[in-house]
Symmetry: D2
Subunit: 381 residues, 4 copies
């Protein structure tokens, strides 16, 4: 099978997520980078394109130029989908432009800068008939798939509690004023939207909790804070969650937990058993039983099922990491784009426009609730 | 030095906490059990007394009888202090009776069944001039002392966040209706007071957070739940905390986390470093730095200080457990009772009537806040 | 039941193991310290006796004086057993003296300074009709009992490999020349015997491996080293083991592993499952299966059996430590001394003169094998 | 830069290591698979080639055919290097053929089936002037590079002990007789050579110990066993090692440790500090100090140095796994092939013919020593 041709917006030299996209896209040979609008700085865009081996003619100065330029190419050469790896504020115009020009969209989260924008995007997606997905790479880990599968087949019994936390320490000091660009745009409402912490990492935690539990958050009460003086947007927050059927949850997100790396953890409690997973040791999934010893499930080891097997590449004991998880998102998006039988099962894992909307509704609700003193707000996606 | 003579109320055969008290009291040879009112069932009280080697004449049918009987003995024989290991509701009458009869009091938490009762108790303590302490054994671990000492000397910098959680699974099913007495009284408002989960374990988490951080919780917003159908009292809850100076915290307490044993964890985040401690691996304390690798501090190992050293009995690598931590409370209470120089430093660790009041104020505030839909309530001890 | 009266030889102020003995003896109230020969320095012996509340008349200047003095007391006052907590070289004369005077013996390991001495001791024990035990406290942990029980009932299938290691770092530098008395006597052949590392910790590892596996080491090939220049005795060593029936093992013991605390680990591999236990996290026992996820067994948690239950004092999640494990040895020795039904089951756990002989045979074989260039030597106890 | 064109021998559908090679080669876009002799079964070779998108004309029936076919192509199209992913016995003829035809060689370990073969290969490499490397992917982990760097700059002080173990459980039962091809060839002397366990995994452990410690093993005493009845080759073994300067080591390798996945662990003890690393949690490196708390170094986190930085692709807390480590080997081999400044630093990490020879000498010495009853044998590479 020929690789799918894609163009990358953002993600030039020095960008964190752009590099991940390229590694993940390459991993299975399902995608081929054919063009890019890699930086808003034309000089840097061109240099980045050269570094990545792009033909100079396909290293564009802007997303718009890329859409136009590619559209003008023969169908068997032009890109087939656009990968968006830019700050939040530009997601909507780029995605809309891509869809309008007939390209599928694979976008970084959060889908847009605001919930209102996302509703607009949803209309554009629906109108286009094209594929859209938002990247929540943590959903791609084999043991997250294992967890989801076990919840779905009722192994935990009735779910009674969901605990999810995502702690980082990199924003514990005002590095956005010390030249860190990653920090600067995330903490700038003009580029990030209504939230930093919840929009950057809280939404991953939220998405993962819904993805694995199969439950829907109906309302929440949140307190967001700007711990480092001088910040406009939140760098820390907690939300009490109410899922379907009265299940309660707690979501802690923080970027000021000094010394923490990238500590996403999900616990799902059921009447019969509980699950516990931590992203920094992703190949381990704890299953705790009411009346039997806890079990340590491991990627590829006996006892893991079909969903995990479909998301792994190595025998057990050979650690699979973040790029592999992200690669699974690419692989499944490819399956959806190619259609056929594989597309159907892939679709169950791809986070499409509905997940995008829910993520934005979550961010909006945390901001609204916090502004009102941590009162309960409904999530209306 | 002669051991201090004490009498035990509650804690007969089959009681969990009574056995711990006796082991902890014996550990350093500072206390001697001389009498008891070990059960409300006279037959069982007598048998338990025999098992523990009490003289039959000093195995009393009730706390009141014990106070009267002991008072009648010569001063060098009679008990000097009373250890209370009964359900919450009886704490006030027993403690009041003990103080009135001239005996010091060493009481299980929570101090009383309600905050109002605790205020009454505080008056009785003040009027008596005797010593009173409430047992929060988790404060006795060497690495908790280490954590407190490091916070106090500013190693973490300005504290920015406190995360404390205490999860158990033993009440995930309705065992209170299946003959489990420990569960039955804790879930019975007549015996336990206004809360099960917050009164039983939440208050430990709260106490530990204040003990180590040196900060005071000013208000909280809590949601308590009765997850297992048919329960009147809470078996699960979460509280958003606001400490002095705008520091935020989250306290999660749950007794329905299937498969969890006794998982108390405290994290304190500071601008310069963070601490992380888990009760089930109590001899390890993580110190995470902003710009250096995380350090694993260990009981007795290089790098630990005077406070930890004063609370340990073995060279590093020889695990010290819960009984040892509890034994530290006994040892320090003995030092307070004996007076002198050691009493002064011991007093800094003993949880007296003020800590008792704060614990009850915490429980009350969680109940009140939850009843009002998780609104913010002040802690007024 | 009245406590058993014991006298302590060695273990005065500042001694590590003496303090552990006293805490462990006190824990269950089964033993009462009534006399001591606590130090070879008479002044220090007297002061240590005072600190421990001994009557001055029963704080003796030597073990011999203690035997004579106690023998002269009425039977219901005199000590019933002697606890030996002195350097190895004095074990034989003290134990022999105690037995000759009619006292049971509870001795630190290794039983004697040499295998020849131990054979002499074995004759004295047999002739006396009294009880003798050697303290290997690691055998007292609940999860070691669990491990042994599971091996015994065949859960692992045929055993195929035994890995045991015991690493410490405290002798990584020549502290014996810098005033550390614990190090000085252990590294002095006059006081320690033929080996430091194997005699001090290797023998614990060996004992534990045989205790849990139920197998007997038939021969070994060892290499001992003195890593720190200037030492006569070994501070590091490895032995290849051959157990009954061709099962192979590896024993690593080292006191020069910089930064290690007291890291005893035992792994037993069977055709159907494997066990893994580490002393520094003693309440956890890993059970790894051929075709199912690994299970984490925990002291007191569901899935643990009768042997562990008999060796614990707390509900699960309340860590039990080294003193508790050591306390189990005291408790079981008390049961043996008291006789009756409990004595029979206790005897299966008490390490008597046969285990003492095997320990000495192990030490001797490692020394002999190493001297001969790591050739194979039979263990002949 | 254009990708380097390579051909793959072995590694068709169903082969473990072939898939890893392809993922690792793709990860950084430095290599392009242009041809293959993917299976000895022509039908399967063709099908595998189709699956991988090879032109049918470049999907060859044998390595020899591939060398001839590629040589006939224009220089800018023909492959530049050969990746060997076949059973050991065929390594020498394939490598020799490739070198003779002018292709660089990137070969699975062990380099050949016997030490004698490897010496022959070394001559062929020298004569060819081409690049040869053997793949020890565990050397590619960032924290292994960190460890090596710290050892090299003397942070551990004088090295005093090396402990390395590699335990797996997949050969605990006779799966080679139940259709498992991976097991079958590894246990067949005709295909594997003189050793299964030492040749398959022991050699990785050996290589890693020398790579990180910078020390050379001079002699060893080993015991190899065939634990599962009916096997000709070893499935388990232990070697006592003597490094330069009297440093001792222990190497444990086993494929019958039931329930173990792929547990490679390396500990290096120095007078000042010790290192501890485990492959299944590869982004963590423990540094234990003599007189300070242990530090947990983490890929990408503060405190890690230039060598680790050069081997990673993500910010800290985003796990990098086995494919990434393997990818580093590809990246560095590409740098060597391309020459220039980067080649010089890459060469320090690439395991060339000298490492290949040492690996074979290690395997041979373990076999010889074991056959002679675990006597000491010199490693003569």
């Amino acid at each position: 099978m020929k690789p799918i041709r894609f163009g990358l917006v953002g993600g030039g030299a020095g960008a964190f997520i752009g590099g991940v996209h390229r590694h993940a896209a390459r991993l299975d040979g399902q995608f081929e980078l054919v063009c890019g609008a890699l930086s808003r700085d034309p000089e840097r865009a061109l240099q980045s394109g050269r570094d990545l081996g792009l033909a100079p003619s396909r290293s564009y100065a802007s997303a718009e130029a890329m859409f136009a330029g590619e559209k003008a190419l023969p169908a068997d050469q032009r890109m087939q989908c656009v990968v968006i790896a830019t700050p939040n504020r530009s997601h909507l115009p780029i995605a809309r432009g891509a869809l309008a020009a007939g390209f599928h969209v694979f976008s970084d989260k959060p889908a847009t800068a605001t919930l209102a924008e996302c509703r607009e995007l949803a209309k554009a997606v629906a109108a286009s008939g094209l594929c859209y997905a938002v990247t929540h790479p943590y959903t791609g880990y084999p043991m997250i798939r294992e967890a989801r599968e076990r919840v779905a087949r009722g192994e935990l019994g009735r779910i009674t509690k969901v605990l999810v936390e995502y702690t980082q320490g990199w924003l514990a000091t005002p590095i956005e004023r010390e030249g860190n660009k990653q920090a600067a745009w995330r903490l700038d409402p003009e580029q990030a939207g209504a939230s930093c912490c919840m929009g950057d990492i809280g939404v991953h935690a939220f998405n993962l909790a819904e993805f694995v539990s199969g439950l829907t958050v109906r309302e929440l009460a949140a307190e967001l804070r700007s711990v480092v003086p001088g910040r406009v947007l939140d760098d820390d927050g907690t939300a009490l969650l109410r899922f379907d059927g009265g299940v309660a949850g707690v979501l802690v997100a923080s970027q000021i937990c000094t010394g923490e790396e990238n500590n996403l953890r999900l616990r799902i409690v059921g009447e019969k058993a509980s699950l516990d997973w931590q992203q920094m040791e992703p190949n381990t999934l704890w299953l705790r039983h009411a009346a039997a010893p806890a079990q340590m499930l491991r990627t590829g080891a006996p006892g893991t099922g079909a969903a995990a097997a479909a998301a792994m590449r190595l025998p057990s004991g050979h650690p699979e990491g973040f790029i592999e998880a992200f690669g699974n998102l690419y692989r499944e998006f490819a399956q959806v784009l190619r259609g056929g039988a594989a597309a159907d099962s892939a679709r169950a894992n791809v986070q499409g426009i509905d997940a995008a909307l829910r993520g934005m509704a979550f961010i909006q609700a945390t901001v609204d609730s916090s502004a009102a003193g941590a009162t309960w707000c409904k999530l209306s996606a």
